[in-house]
């Protein structure tokens, strides 16, 4: 990430999404899985929040609840300070107006019957650009694609399944540049993208955040990456938040054993680069 980025403090803005005792239990009786276990959180407007945890720790489940795609079993979610009410279809659609997501599995995120053009055009139409001229629309799409290192001219008239996993992920992110949502839930959005493109893309996302004040909830298992880009991190283990706070505080001075393990599991090469100040043996 560019060193030059001035780090504005977004961590004490107005509340955007918060939760108390949010819980999700799958199944009944013997087969019961507590995917998310009584978690509390406060996300502020414009904040870049990372949720870090191992596979199966409940990150995706939590994000689906935040999106209102999954009902919570217990607890309450607050939206802009007030209890979130998405009990009817109309209220849901209202809630979804400013929220967008990048799902974990790019292969199942696209409708295989729609061409890439229509995926992107849909985004322009959603932002009220239906009446724009054809040239203008193409210009917008080309620009959005260029943000994620894709060439629109190569994608036009293709179907999403004709792309590679990483290309699909990048296309998914390109949508965000067209939609400019208030809240973005990104579930490992760059897991299949090469390191070089990843840095540029995340940088562009941060720029977008600075420009529009978008709240980004970023889900990853890469604690090094989280340290780089987030204002706040939440460390998730077996459905619980074991630790949370400002990224540098949590990662430079981890309290929970789980966090320490996550940090020590980061390959050496990362450690040399950016975790040099972490003293793991101190405690």
């Amino acid at each position: 990430m560019s060193e030059a980025r001035e780090r504005r403090d977004y961590t004490d803005g107005p509340l955007c999404l918060s939760g108390r005792n949010v819980t999700k239990v799958f199944g009944l009786g013997e087969k019961k899985t507590v995917a998310v276990d009584h978690v509390d959180f406060d996300f502020h407007e414009g904040e870049f929040v990372s949720i870090v945890g191992e596979s199966g720790s409940g990150k995706t489940t939590l994000s689906k609840m935040l999106l209102g795609l999954l009902n919570s079993s217990e607890g309450e979610i607050f939206f802009e300070g007030k209890p979130r009410d998405i009990s009817t279809g109309r209220r849901k659609r209202e809630y979804w107006k400013g929220i967008q997501a990048i799902f974990q599995d790019p292969f199942s995120s696209f409708n295989v019957f729609h061409k890439i053009d229509s995926v992107l055009l849909d985004c322009i139409n959603m932002r009220g650009g239906r009446s724009l001229s054809r040239e203008k629309k193409i210009e917008l799409m080309t620009e959005a694609c260029s943000f994620v290192n894709l060439k629109f001219a190569e994608l036009t008239n293709k179907y999403p399944f004709e792309l590679s996993g990483g290309q699909m992920q990048r296309l998914m992110i390109a949508r965000i540049f067209l939609l400019k949502p208030r809240i973005l839930l990104a579930d490992e959005p760059t897991s299949m993208v090469d390191a070089c493109s990843r840095a540029t893309i995340l940088d562009m996302l941060l720029d977008l955040r600075d420009e529009t004040g978008m709240t980004i909830i970023f889900i990853t298992h890469d604690i090094g990456l989280a340290y780089y880009i987030s204002d706040t991190v939440y460390i998730m283990e077996h459905g619980r938040f074991v630790e949370s706070g400002r990224a540098d505080t949590v990662i430079l001075n981890p309290k929970a054993a789980y966090t320490k393990r996550l940090i020590s599991d980061v390959p050496k090469i990362h450690e040399e680069w950016d975790l040099s100040t972490v003293d793991l043996k101190a405690e």
Binding site: K64, L67, L69, G89, K92, R93, W96, K97, I99, Q100, A101, F103, Q104, D105, S108, S109, F110, N111, V112, F113, H114, D122, M126
Partner: protein, 416 residues
Amino acid sequence: MKHTLRQVFHSSKFLVGFIIFLLILLTIWIYPFFNPGNPLEMIGVGTFARPGSYVSLYDALNTSTETLRLADADDKRLDKLLSDTDRISMLDWFDSAGVDVGDLDIEDTDTLLDLWFANYSSDLKPAGMTNAKRNYYKRLNNSLMQVRAADTLTITDVDEATGDPVTKGTVTKTDYVNIGQVANVKRLPLGTDNFGRDVLKELVSATGTSIIIGLIAGVVATLIGLTLGLLAGYVGGLADDIIMFITNIFTVIPSFVLLILISYSIGQEQRGASVVAIVIGFTSWTWTARSVRSQVISLRNRDHVNLSKLSGHSLVRIIATDILPYIASYVVMAFILQVSSGILSEAQLSLLGLGPKTTVTPTLGLMMNWAMLYSAHTNGSWWAYFPVILTITLISFSLNLMNTGLDQVFNPTLRD
């Protein structure tokens, strides 16, 4: 889409089934141009005329003749008039009439005929012989007389004034007419049925009606099944519970029993072909509903549906663009099977006498029903039912072949 279609038509099974079905449709379309008119017209007065070409005798007599001397003409004539079964029947008659024939060789035509004319009398009523059998011997006797008749037949008219016969003309055994010059020759490739209708014409028309019945039944069943399956699967909750409850009730009661009960209660007068088709469709949707529901349940949590929801799309739009295309291939396959089973259901119903009203259009089932009622299967009139069975088989075969072909394209695990 285009790609999928190409793939489908590359499947040889689908292609063969499709071509057979297309040929059937083509026949239904083209045949009436060659043989127009009401397929239920009773052209014959007797029942079950054999397949073949029928030459008007009257017109043949009025057609100018040529003389042909053919060496084997007499033998052929004899063969036609006196078949092997006839010879055996004659022996039977001698037996039941108590005539002692000694060790008669039935191949010895002259002796056989001598014995016959010496002993046969239509007034004789041998014990235990049915009326039908006695009539048969009467006909046999008439035709045997021709064998012994003179070489020349005289055609006479009756003088109106005196009542005396007047010779109009003669026909000899060497007189031939050119069939092409006879004014009236009727070809009945499949003969006539019990009502004296042209079976082939009836069959073509019945095939059309039956396919339409199958299509209507398929559309009705698929529409009901699809709608209920989509609602139950996508909306879930209470809607799902209610729909599955209804579906289970319909599944538990055998659909054919339901079909019989409904058809019976509608009554013969109201049962047009389309009513029967709708009733068939109405009793056969459960399978589609169940499978659509399970497919939708696995689809509704896919992320592309979630993405569509986040984009603010309406329920209808999500179902139409994010769910339906994914299950379309499946629904088409189910539809093809419904059409095939709809045709079979109509045949079964009609066999039970619960098919469409009989006076308007023939259906394959009704043809079977008529053939059975008039014992075509016991009196050897195979042409009244066998072509019908063959047609039903061919239709179901082609539809099922198409279905298997589609299955191989859409479920690649089955591909060999």
